[in-house]
Symmetry: C2
Subunit: 175 residues, 2 copies
DNA sequence: TTTCTACAGTTCTAAAACAGAACTGTCAAT
DNA sequence: ATTGACAGTTCTGTTTTAGAACTGTAGAAA
């Protein structure tokens, strides 16, 4: 399987991995969430080669995760900012950081803390069920085929996810 | 930066990426959560080359994400099952799938649905604050240096995260 | 008893991706 | 006229990955 083929897989995880599933892309996105916007900013804070950085930024723009916006003419300069699609990656970032905080810290503790502006406290992200609000655990989740599963014709059921969309929107609304 | 160096970065995200930050590892873990346990199972459902599969499985075992357990002698055969550290990756997987469900579905809709056994409904994962329970959005999260930040000596503050650990454990307890 | 299949790898070669460094080009400041 | 900030592009050499074939154990089938 090549990189391009991932997006055609009937699996939301494979498709997402096609967008963010490499080392540098994830780190570039971390910088985006930490408010880095410019080429040199990414390059110096990550130590990524300029070649790869240019390529990854282009890819992220193509995929609608970043938007390339001019901030001066002569010479033309642009900055890269997260679109809504990009901001929606925040739960993934938080989940990744939280796992590292739990399993990969050294004796000194966490490199970064996260404060929730609304309540003012340092927090951990907790994943809950959109329907009942209870914290989720792997064992309590049962996976079953949906309308877009392999074998379902394209003409079929137009995704009856109205309720889920509505509920989970709380999560993105102010992102 | 090489793969090995990621784990030494003072950043939980970089360290986590050092473990799961490549295409195949993420897909292998998806299979683990879908109850695949054996070499041939991974190989045939993913189409990964046998060479890489063997290497990735070894790496995941080394890192304590999977455990290699014999299920027969002669010939020696093992299966790979998620450790607690591996099960704790579940929120990351759910967040990735959810983003794909939101932004990468075709006309047919979602390939997979997730049912919460406790409440019986198909759900979306929602990320909330461990302290106040409110859904999180990127803009409401303020990041600041913790005890393990770059520059902090190893001898310093032994991570005062007691409360956070306790609260977020609800999320993992039955995983 | 030779042959087939299931399983879990290992070994090989060619192709793709990546690292590291140097180069291009615009403009402002010295 | 030279330097430095910025945003890339181009080049060469190394590392990773893809794809296919091979190894080896053992039970079942011919």
């Amino acid at each position: 399987m090549k990189w391009g083929e991932l997006e055609d897989e009937p699996c939301s995880m494979a498709r997402t991995i096609g967008v963010i599933g490499d080392r540098w892309t994830l780190l570039i996105l971390r910088e985006c969430f930490l408010r880095t916007r410019r080429f040199e900013g990414f390059q110096s804070s990550l130590g990524i080669t300029r070649h790869l950085l240019a390529e990854r930024l282009k890819k992220l723009v193509r995929q609608g995760v970043l938007r390339r916006i001019p901030y001066q003419d002569s010479p033309k300069r642009h900055e890269y900012i997260l679109t809504q699609k990009g901001l929606d990656l925040h739960p993934i970032m938080m989940a990744i950081v939280h796992w590292g905080d739990t399993h990969m810290v050294d004796a000194r503790g966490r490199p970064l803390l996260h404060q929730h502006r609304k309540c003012g406290k340092d927090f951990d992200p907790v994943m809950v069920c959109s329907e009942c609000g209870e914290p989720l655990s792997a064992k309590e989740v049962h996976t079953h085929p949906g309308p877009g599963a392999r074998g379902t014709p394209v003409s079929a059921a137009p995704e009856k996810k109205a309720k889920r969309e509505t509920k989970s929107k709380t999560q993105r609304s102010a992102a």
